[in-house]
Symmetry: C2
């Protein structure tokens, strides 16, 4: 018999038993948002590939302007103009300057740009410089942003819009990413009917399949819906085998009765190895975890709220582990609007709404009986109360996980 494990033990078990699969596929830059980088990305070019001005002004040799001022301008010959999108063809000898727009190329030999606000065009082919240039002033040098061999993004990063921008800058039109994980979702329970059917006496709708499917999509996995299986061990074994063969991970949910839980344990044991039976959290205790090779086989509680918390806290980190994905999520601090009791030796999860007033964030816990999905509807996040904590007083500072 496996012992009930603490959340920390479960996360350590996941790190120990599962490992990132070394797989990749190539997608176009337009499809790369939200995907997990399979390898480091290095630049192959200089960006920018030329020295650029960061201002509208005049490119010049700084030493020609040393000592100048409003009162005693340096007077330089206007050698020409740099046009946007063209190389700096204009030659700028000593004691001369060239007009250059923001982002324009700096002519060879020039070592700074003076903003147009600090110059005066005398209209006779000469320009007065009212403020001395300093070498490097208002310039971005060739390769200042990136140069060949520079690592721009590291493997395991989930690509954000700013990363798409960086990849565009270095001309990466194709990106090597992790294939989306295929995750089989099976709901079990005699009492379940699909969402589009009206429940008869003693029946309820299957909430977990659509909820888990949405959670997996949001995470960036590819859910595969295997539908509802009634609590029949043979059928459940067949479906689970089918899912395990065709997916990277399998989630069974429901089957709240003891018999079905035992059946799920037996099936997972037959397909591979049972690793875990029970997590010391509330709600969410009746959770099962096993594996067939590196494929996780997960048995979630039937109660939607419990299934939701276990999926957030353990299933997503487990899927991230399979991808070698860097999971980044941090709680926000808020003030608890009312006291919350907890006294049961298990870490307690509680959904809450967040309210902001005058820059102060308040967490309003949503109270409801166990298993009521409306506890989650409209929730902004959740808090965790430590197993050793007997409750939180009103106005205490809490950490809210909201992503």
């Amino acid at each position: 018999m496996l012992e009930v494990k603490t959340p920390e033990e479960v996360l350590r078990l996941i790190e120990k038993v599962f490992y990132p699969a070394d797989r990749s596929e190539t997608v176009s830059l337009a499809e790369a948002l939200g995907r997990v980088l399979a390898e480091d990305v290095s630049a192959e070019e200089y960006v920018p590939d030329f020295d650029r001005s960061t201002v509208d002004g005049y490119a010049l040799h700084a030493k020609d302007t040393f000592g100048c001022s409003d009162a005693i301008p340096a007077i330089l010959n206007l050698a020409g103009e740099v046009k946007m999108g063209e190389g700096a063809a204009v030659r700028v000898p000593r004691d001369a300057c060239a007009y250059v727009p923001t982002g324009g190329a700096i002519p060879e030999g020039c070592d700074c740009a003076v903003m147009i606000e600090y110059t005066e065009d005398y209209g006779d082919g000469t320009i007065g410089i009212l403020k001395p240039g300093v070498p490097g002033m208002n310039l971005i040098f060739r390769g200042d942003d990136v140069f060949p061999g520079k690592t721009v993004l590291c493997a395991s990063r989930v690509l954000a819009p700013q990363d798409i921008g960086a990849l565009a800058a270095i001309g990466k039109t194709q990106v090597s990413v992790r294939p989306r994980l295929r995750v089989g979702v099976i709901s079990t329970g005699y009492e379940l009917v699909p969402v589009d059917r009206k429940p008869g006496p003693g029946q309820v709708r299957d909430v977990n399949s659509p909820m888990l499917t949405a959670l997996l999509k949001e995470f960036g996995a590819e859910p595969v819906d295997f539908g509802i299986v009634v609590d029949d061990e043979k059928l459940l074994r067949e479906k689970t085998l089918d899912a395990a063969e065709n997916c990277d991970a399998v989630i069974l949910s429901g089957g709240s009765s003891a018999g079905v839980k035992d059946a799920a344990c037996r099936i997972i044991g037959e397909l591979g190895e049972l690793l875990l039976h029970g997590i010391a959290i509330k709600p969410g205790k009746p959770t099962i975890l096993g594996r067939a090779g590196n494929k996780p086989l997960i048995g979630l509680p039937g109660h939607p709220v419990a299934a939701f918390f276990v999926a957030k806290l353990f299933v997503l980190p487990l899927l991230a582990r399979l991808e070698g994905r860097t999971l980044r999520s941090w709680p926000v601090r808020a003030e608890l609007s009312e006291s919350l009791n907890a006294n049961h030796g298990r870490m307690q999860m509680n959904a809450c709404r967040l309210a902001e007033e005058d820059g102060k964030l308040t967490a309003v816990p949503i109270r409801s009986k166990s298993g009521l999905i409306t506890q989650l509807a409209g929730a902004d996040g959740y808090l965790m109360i430590d197993r050793d904590c007997e409750g939180l007083p009103k106005n205490s500072e809490v950490e809210i996980y909201w992503q």
Copy 2:
């Protein structure tokens, strides 16, 4: 001439000038994740539609067990068993009980369930109850979760996985949501080449189009890429008009030279009304905002980093306003790893990485020259330094926006 506005003034202007369009479309529940609810959703049924047990145990009349204990059990006749997914057909007279699994229907007249752990099956058709029942104990009553007319989710909510679960529970297979906003993206600049082309002398790749497209996708809008327009006022006018006719909002980006900025202002003025020229933030000052009716026409700075921050801080709230979307995002608190200077009368944005050690979160600012896109690559979030603040010392507590 319009004055430069502070960030707060810009956000107030957005709220004042633009309004949510009263539009909706119907999507299936499977497509509803991340969409914006167009109206409140109320239940039409009871969930659950019957009194349910929350434990494996015996349904009974509480008063038949008052005063019982381990030493003096209440002995009840076993009237039958409730099966999952079936109504509670079994009749339970006084001084009797029926086995009921977790989630099973409670037979009529019974008012509580006693956990199987506190009972003993004598094998002769009687069950010993070792702990008194209390009316309502271990029950979820009909309609405890929802009842006809109860509002389950409010309009403007961006549907999260837990909301999909709640909609499934009440049988909503179709959801009324806001149509995705079509946002035209136009890049301007003679110096720009598409990502798949190698820049020639004086040229750089168009970073803003793919970056803004990704940002809009992540937000849940539908970007429409109008490509690169060279700095030609006539062409730019045609493209902008085309985009304004076919989209709900238009973003022009780039055109860093003064001439193009003036052209963008003229074009926006011709199409509608120019509302704003310049925001007191760094980077991001050269931002233009106008409108044609309720359609925003936005001119973003050409520097990708500036364009990114302005898009995050102002364009997304503006799009949310057009949808009546509730934008929910809160910063996390972290300790600054090194001092940061700021002294220029504008709010300063700085990208940073977040590092976690022993539960302590540290923000490491990413330093780079203006306009370098690699400042953003791999960034976890950003912080804002107030316009009146001259800098932040090392180890100061900062708020990091990371979503």
